[in-house]
């Protein structure tokens, strides 16, 4: 990255590259990298490669170029580790991130990250085995309500209530009559 600090591409500024540095570093930390030396080396490599990107500073921002370069490297690495040469980049990234997420807690994989083959066999085995299976395959059942005859009392009650629904004024009047009836009962009963 020494050349980047002295020879930044035209159309970009040191401040732009600072922002790009933070973004790429954040991305690697979000993936789970903690080792600072490794982080700074990887970030430097990514930014140096991004600086060579066509259109940088003109049609493409430094951040976009840097993150694109990051994702390309990570995707290629996932492609080789998971042995999925034909997988599209977008789904490869998701699958690879999941595979990393599914590694056991405290599993040390940083030394393998973005390195060339060969990787340690247990690491490769873990990554290839780690596939998120949400549930067993669908094997459904049909659930349809069987007819239930609610009986004459309920049928009659339903008919009456639906009639009241169709005549809201009647419903309100009945409600008031009930209320007045209750109040009258209490009034006369208390005398």
């Amino acid at each position: 990255m020494g050349s980047l600090t002295t020879n930044i591409p035209f159309g970009t500024t040191l401040a732009d590259w600072d922002v790009a540095y933070v973004r790429v570093e954040a991305y690697f930390i979000a993936l789970g990298l903690k080792n600072k030396l490794l982080l700074s080396r990887l970030v430097s490599e990514v930014l140096s490669a991004a600086a060579q990107c066509e259109g940088i500073g003109r049609t493409k921002s430094t951040v976009a170029a840097a993150v694109d370069e990051t994702e390309m490297r990570v995707a290629n690495w996932f492609r080789e580790v998971l042995a999925l040469p034909a997988e599209p980049t977008a789904s490869l990234l998701r699958r690879g991130r999941l595979a990393l997420l599914l590694l056991p807690d405290n599993y040390s994989w940083e030394s393998e990250f973005l390195t060339r083959a060969p990787w340690s066999p247990p690491f490769v085995e873990q990554m290839r085995r780690n596939y998120l299976d949400v549930g067993p395959s669908f094997n459904g059942s049909l659930m349809v309500a069987r007819n239930l005859d609610f009986g004459p009392v309920s049928t009659l009650a339903e008919g009456g209530l639906r009639q009241l629904d169709r005549h809201p004024r009647l419903r309100i009047a009945l409600g008031w009559m009930l209320l007045i009836g209750l109040a009258s009962f209490i009034f006369f009963a208390a005398r």
């Binding site: 922002v19 933070v22 954040a26 600072k36 659930m143 349809v144 009986g151 629904d165």
Partner: protein, 718 residues
Amino acid sequence: MTTLNKSERRAIPGASGPLVIEQVGPVIVFFRRLVFFTSWFVLWLGGALVWLDLLWRTGLSELKWVIWLLYLPLHAQLVFGFLQAFYGFLIRRKRARHRRTAGDEKPPALKPRSTVIVIPVYNEDPPEVFARIRAIYRDLESCGILDVFEFFVLSDTRDPDCWVQEEQLWLQLRRELGAMDRLHYRRRRHNLARKSGNISDFLRKWGRNYTYMVVLDADSLMTGETLHALVTAMVAHPNAGLIQTVPRQIRPASPFARLMQFTSAFYTPIFAAGLRFWHHRGGNYWGHNAIIRIAPFCDACELPRLPWREPIGGQILSHDFVEAALMRRAGYDVYLADALHGSFEESPPHLLAHLARDRRWCQGNLQHLWLLFARGLRWTSRLHFLNGILAYVGSALWFGFLLVSLLSLNRAVDSGLSLIVTPSALPSYRGDLNEESLALLAFTGLLLFAPKWLAWLDAALRGKMHQFGGYGRATLSMGLETLFSTLHAPIMMFYHTLFVITSLLGVRAEWTTQNRTLSDMPWGVAAKALGSASVCGILLAMGSYSIDPILMAWFSPIILGLILAVPMTVILSSASVDHALRSAKIWYVPEEANPPSVVKGVVPGIFQYRAVLDALPLKGAAAAIIDPGVNALHTALQEPCSDTSKAFAGARKEVMEAILKNGWQALPPKELAEWMCDREAMIELHYRIWHVNEPLRHPDITRQLLSYATRFPGEATR
């Protein structure tokens, strides 16, 4: 992956364990029912006639006829409850003498992955949910029967942050237990038909993979032994459609919850045994902590829509009773496994939460009125419906009974006439009015309080008193419980009456998340919620005093209960009072004396998972949008978007720009949750946030992104 060797695994008691399904011939069942209902009828009729005689002796009026008519169903309920306790006590004596011995039978072999444990959740606290799942998983593992089971978390969670935490903890738990092919998660996009719809959806998609289903609530726990016993019983009894356990309350968070826990542990055994005594294989389902045979459940138990409209018609709220009834209608048996002790749940922490839950249950039970006369249902199912309805309508009847009694007494006092007592109309009874009144009062007291003493005697005869803190503490606990339940009863009467009226008037009960952890309730909150009960108590005191001061004394338990609603609720939610009760071993229960391992495992799990979530740089929806790993997880769990229209793509783009400009917190939670179901949208948003350096991006997004960075350079100033 955790594996246990032979020495670490616990032995399953198998056939020597508690009896799940009682083997009783049809003649015995008939005889039991005959005895139960005959004694119910005799006691009910006896009480009804004595009460009528008392009213007649002091002059029957139209008001007194109303009082007597209101008394009939109330007295019927009281007698029913008493007899359940009485016969339950007797049947437990019989079982104690006929306990099976080890080696009687070999338990049947259980097919691997034949049973799914489903845990429907709705905005529950994810660390608590997954801590419980872990505890059950480990218990099954230690029993050596894990192979039989799979787990399914069925989420209907609407809160976006809670949803993402569920996904994260599910993954964490899978990794921790090595349960990659055994612990599954599904979140439903649309919360149709609430919990019953949640389970139906699961069965439609995955039902045929399994033979049996164990339904747990988010706060449920079951031991491996109990789960094993349930599955074994289902295998051994091909006609068993459903077996319901009797969950005990555990992990009380307040004195109120301790009280509920004690009631559950001390009294429920004899009531549950009594319930089983008369219903035998025509049992009921309480919605959780039960095992169900999937094939007939799918075939016959899909819920119909009720006549008319909600809240009283339409979609069924209390689905459990109906599903049990439909299972019976299909010819399968529904049992109550009251002998199994490894089934647990948690209680609402205070009266307000209890009432909120009761509001829903009241509406659900009133809906069962439509089913009382439905064709094809068994009479035991109808009786379960009726009992459920009367649990709430009974309160309204009691309220009416008190009101009409006051009016009648007021009229009698106002009239100024002397009381002329006529001789009794009962054949060969020549006692005076006071004697007859005291006899009825004593009889009513017996019906109310004898079950408590029967429970006390049951615990003593079984040698279990030490599990309740010893004879002295158990008796004191029972006394305090009686005091508080007497004071609580009028509060429940008041609110249940309100619930019945509001439900019938068409006011819906909202399904909110149960609050299980709130303690130390503020006075203001209690007063606002329960003030109306206190006002009712004051009015009752004034009304009864104005009629006759002695009358107020007779009404004092009801008046005091209503007036003291607010302070009682505050005291029974107090953490310091809870601590004092715990130290004094008041309301002490066996699960405190000797907690099962499955219960012991919950609290460490909750703390661990809270720490896991707290340690993450981003939480909830923010993590799903920004964090590469969590985004990958979340999007992997969503289905591809089926809408490929231009209009939809345009709408999606608009929302994305709005999120980038204003932050996702500006979206209402419902909209955000809907957005988060769109897999492609979430992928694109994640891409845009990481790749784009727009000055118009919301500062919160920048801040969240930079929370990963080890340093904060000039970007913060742009």
